[in-house]
């Protein structure tokens, strides 16, 4: 059972790509989230494992300034979100504890025109793809439904960024990102994560590449990701570094 809300979010991302006239990418999630959760603007930085992020998409000049300020100052919500692996929700930049937390960034961000900032790490466990940042020109929390949608847009942006990175690296995913919503990642979460960890050993790769190979295998064999993960965890299926696979009992 794929939820209605994730499907709605993916539809909004796909619509944005159609307006732009291109293939669905993480930039479309960045553009579509602004209206969906009622923020003033957004930015998206992409960062593969351990690398400093580069700015991939901004929706306006203030968003661009906010992203650049953090890179320049070396502090701010995007960096904290990436470091802690959870969102940073700063709903009022005028509060005293935020002035203390980011002494350089907070006043500069306010001067730029931001009053609230929300930063979402684009991560799946130890896989780090970047950060999605949102800002408002007046203070105010995201409501619970808005927070939920922002998290779902982040989930979409994460998968799309990983596809882009894998394709840029060596064409591994072979068009997995063609606007499709992966089925049911949430419910089969644990086995998919375990299988990804197992693949780092089988393939001798990092965790992001292992996840890309898992998804690519499912896509190219027209199988559900959850089923492939289940076979790997049950040790019925092994993937090999040369892109092949062996099914136990068949070899």
């Amino acid at each position: 059972m794929t939820g209605i809300r994730p499907a709605r979010v993916w539809a909004m991302v796909a619509a944005q790509a159609a307006i732009r006239g291109g293939r669905v990418s993480a930039a479309d999630a960045c553009a579509a989230v602004v209206a969906a959760v009622e923020v003033t603007g957004a930015w998206l930085t992409a960062a593969s494992d351990g690398q400093a992020g580069h700015l991939m998409r901004v929706t306006d000049g203030i968003g661009e300034l906010l992203a650049e300020l953090q890179l320049t100052l070396g502090e701010g919500p995007s960096l904290d979100a990436a470091a802690r692996g959870g969102p940073v929700l700063a709903s009022d930049l005028g509060s005293a504890d935020l002035a203390e937390r980011w002494p350089g960034f907070t006043p500069a961000a306010q001067l730029a025109g931001a009053a609230a900032i929300f930063a979402f790490p684009l991560q799946i466990g130890a896989i780090r793809a970047g950060v999605l940042g949102l800002y408002r020109d007046r203070p105010g929390e995201l409501t619970t439904p808005q927070l939920g949608d922002a998290l779902l847009f982040s989930d979409a942006a994460t998968l799309l960024l990983l596809d882009d990175q894998a394709e840029a690296a060596d064409g591994l995913t072979d068009g997995t990102s063609a606007g499709g919503q992966p089925e049911d990642l949430a419910r089969h979460r644990a086995q998919i994560d375990q299988a990804t960890g197992m693949l780092t050993e089988q393939l001798g790769t990092g965790i992001a590449d292992a996840f890309a190979r898992l998804r690519a295998y499912a896509y190219s064999h027209d199988l559900r990701l959850a089923d492939v993960a289940g076979d790997i965890v049950a040790r019925r299926l092994r993937l090999r570094p040369d892109s092949g696979a062996s099914l136990d009992g068949e070899a």
Binding site: G85, G86, T196, G197, E201
Partner: protein, 249 residues
Amino acid sequence: MNGQLLADTFVELTDTMVADFDVIDFLHVLTDRSVQLLDVSAAGLLLADPRGELRVVAASSEAVRVLELFQLQSDEGPCLDCFRSGVPVGAVDLAAEAERWPQFSAAARQTGFTAVQALPMRLREQVIGALNLFRAEPGAFDAADIRIGQALADVATISLLHERSMRHSDTLNEQLQAALNSRVIIEQAKGKLAERLGLDMEQAFGLLRDYARARNLRLAELAQSFVSGTGILDSQLQGKPRPRPQPPR
């Protein structure tokens, strides 16, 4: 029943206004004290994520956590029924529930549980999760135990909703999401370790947990460094032979 522990637990479950409040620790208090106070073998807790999905956020043992995950995955079981209906759901003997929950009752019995009681975490119309109590032996749960379990769940619910509406609303959501991501890292580390040493997932988890405890590391941090290949655990295990031969290239 330990009256002093019960009184202390109620205080713990209302004391959310402390500076270093941690929502996951708070929910672990609820599951751990349930096992200490009530005649139950294990307890697990599901909480609704802002995305609208149920997530396993606390469990008194890893076995229960896996069983709760299984419920979410197979989309059936007393905890889901309880969350969806907002009323308590129970079974005194899972051997007789093959029709109601074919997959869950088999998995629960395999894990060693025969009776289950799910209690809603609910305030008026709002259901935010479910507390699930498991017992190894068949038979009805003690009526007083159910009342106390529900009271603990109620107090925790009110505290959390109060917390959410107060100054810590942002903090609560930040902590919950960070904890969920930590859990993903732990699963990835379990997979990597299981594959390297030829263990099953339970053994891999036990090894990670014991290693973290012995060195006073946080499990999520150990998992993170192991998965990124930067930590001491990774280098220590680097030279070990693989029990499973590589398939021919």
